[in-house]
């Protein structure tokens, strides 16, 4: 029995009066690949923010790899969880390899900067994600699909056992959506990285993720494999659309 990668126990989050998460219990095992789904405002992004410690819960506890997040400092959290930034803007011209290199911040020497091991990890992440052809280019001039890959490479360079993504396919065309999903599956299956992603596209979620967690009004309403979670009744109730619009394929 290995320790769960992420464990939320009885987590409540309130923004002023409104409850964003209510009594959420969730356990994600090491090496799992989990998609969080649900409508806008269901609490998916809030759940991610609680899981990485940027938002403290009003009640309940969070553990990362068996250790309470309250006793971990920010650097220790960053060595356990890598988060792929959602909409990253750069104020200055920055080369692709320099963006990937930011992922080493939790590991590098605070005063002397990157060491040989950091440079090896940067090179490995660039190869692993396949962005070698973008080296030397200003990251601000890349297409959205390329930028997404570079940000994932940065998170891979962070070499954390848990990888978290908030809507990684938003703004991407179909080819890049599938490409991103393939990469996540590969990182999960070959490297053993635990992958947790918020996804809006139920078809992608059902196709690429063996476990779905459905949130509605701050509560986990279903948790299991795609065919258990995405029943026609639930799609009608939670998303308010005709289930025939969501084709889950075989």
């Amino acid at each position: 029995m290995s320790r769960p990668a992420i464990r939320l126990a009885g987590v409540d989050v309130r923004y002023r009066e409104r409850a964003a998460l209510r009594n959420v219990d969730l356990e994600i095992a090491t090496g799992e690949r989990v998609a969080l789904i649900g409508g806008n405002g269901a609490g998916k992004s809030t759940l991610l923010r609680v899981a990485v410690g940027t938002l403290g819960p009003s009640a309940g506890g969070v553990e990362l790899l068996g250790q309470s997040i309250d006793v971990l400092d920010r650097m220790a959290v960053a060595r356990r969880v890598a988060v792929v930034p959602q909409a990253a803007t750069l104020p200055f011209a920055t080369r692709v390899e320099e963006v990937v290199g930011l992922g080493r911040i939790p590991h590098e020497d605070p005063f002397r900067g990157a060491r040989a091991s950091d440079r090896a990890a940067i090179a490995a992440a660039i190869e692993r994600v396949g962005v070698g052809h973008l080296l030397g280019r200003d990251a601000r001039e890349l297409s959205l699909g390329e930028r997404q890959l570079v940000l994932i490479a940065m998170a891979v360079a962070q070499a954390a056992p848990i990888l978290i993504l908030d809507e990684p396919t938003v703004h991407l065309d179909l080819r890049h959506q599938v490409g991103t999903m393939d990469l996540l599956v590969d990182l999960n299956e070959r490297d053993g990285t635990t992958v947790v992603a918020v996804l809006h596209d139920l078809t992608l979620a059902a196709h690429f993720f063996p476990r779905l967690v459905l949130l509605d009004h701050g509560c986990v309403v279903a948790d299991g494999n795609p065919s258990e979670v995405l029943t026609p009744d639930r799609i009608r109730d939670v998303f308010g659309v005709d289930p025939a619009l969501v084709r889950l394929g075989a």
Binding site: S2, F92, A123, E127, L135
Partner: protein, 361 residues
């Protein structure tokens, strides 16, 4: 925690070079910058109404600073001019240039705004109002060559930033937007106070005006000794936190995910950069452009990593301001702020045109 981080065979040398070298030129650039600084020192000390040839200058400097008897002989008058008049002035220009450039790079990185400069959060208007009030008060106190003007300018700069910081944190806006907008609002208010003070100043208007334009003609060893420790210690402390500035490149949220304690680092770095700026403006007045342009030129050359940008900006700011002060003296003591703008702006425009493909503000 089973993390089978797979060992990937990396054989592409291009990938390795990119990961290792980033850009390969920082050492060359640092050496060129230091070379320029030495030339600026020798020229700055040698040139003036009484010209002292470079050989003599080097001899005096070597003898007095390093205890070396290199060569040649020089008159006592030359030695007095070099040691008591010109050297403190040149060193003050260097240290102020260093301070402004490092503070500018810090504010740009923290606020994630290419148009930020050391004065963006109200230091300039605070210092100016402080100086103007000091001029208006009909009391002359001089402690160790520091007049009321220097003290009030220093306190005014810090008080302005502190006010901006406190006010910015009570609103509901995003921290960075709030800081910039509050800085603008407080700056405008202080500028109104400054305008009123200038209106009331009568015969003392000239004194306020010359502070606003900046300059080094009142430099002395004692004043240098007041400002230099603050700028050197503050600048070093900023450089030791380069990692935090780098972490903020992709935004404060990502900085948090990369392990940076954002509120704490932001507060510490703003305080250090403001201290450095306040020390610089207290001895030199308001000198524009150095803090804005030098970090950008350095970034164009070596990329955005604060580990390189901060030290290279320190060297570049020192060299630029020393040459600017030299030019200001040669042109008959015109305000050095005019010179930095006249040298800096066209140079900056040329650079922007040359690298437009890879750089945008």
């Amino acid at each position: 925690m089973a993390t089978r981080q797979e060992v990937v065979a990396v054989d592409s040398p291009r990938v390795w070079r990119a990961a290792a070298g980033l850009r390969s030129r920082p050492v060359v650039i640092a050496l060129l910058g230091i070379g320029a600084l030495v030339v600026a020192l020798v020229l700055g000390v040698g040139m003036g109404s009484v010209a002292i040839v470079p050989g003599e200058t080097i001899g005096i400097l070597g003898h007095r600073l390093l205890g070396l008897d290199i060569a040649g002989r020089w008159s006592e008058a030359s030695e007095t001019i070099v040691m008591d008049l010109r050297l403190p002035r040149v060193l003050t220009a260097m240290i102020v240039g260093t301070g402004l450039a490092v503070a500018g790079a810090t504010f740009q990185g923290l606020l994630r705004n290419p148009l930020a400069d050391p004065y963006v959060l109200g230091t300039a208007s605070g210092a100016a109002l402080g100086a103007a009030i000091a001029v208006l008060i009909p009391v002359r106190i001089v402690v160790l060559e520091f007049g009321l003007l220097h003290g009030f300018a220093f306190i005014g700069a810090l008080a302005a930033v502190y006010t901006v910081y406190r006010l910015a944190h009570s609103g509901g806006l995003a921290p960075l937007t709030s800081l910039l907008l509050t800085g603008y609002a407080v700056g405008s208010l202080l500028a109104a106070g400054l305008a009123m003070a200038m209106y009331l100043s009568g015969a003392a208007l000239n004194q306020i005006f010359s502070y606003l334009l900046g300059g080094f003609d009142g430099s002395s060893w004692v004043r240098l000794a007041g400002a230099a420790p603050l700028i050197i210690l503050g600048g070093t402390a900023i450089m030791l936190r380069a990692r935090s500035i780098n972490g903020m490149l992709l935004g404060e949220e990502t900085a948090g995910h990369l392990g940076i304690d954002v509120p704490r680092e932001r507060a510490i770095l703003l305080a250090l950069a403001s201290l450095v700026t306040a020390a610089a403006v207290a001895v030199s007045g308001l000198i524009g452009f150095v803090g804005l342009v030098v970090p950008h030129v350095v970034r164009m050359l070596v990329g955005p990593s604060a580990r390189l940008v901060l030290p290279l900006s320190a060297i570049g700011g020192a060299a630029l301001l020393t040459f600017a002060d030299l030019a200001a003296r040669m042109l008959g003591e015109i305000p050095v702020g005019v010179v930095t703008a006249v040298i800096g702006a066209p140079f900056f425009l040329v650079l922007l045109r040359r690298v437009r493909a890879g750089y945008e503000l």
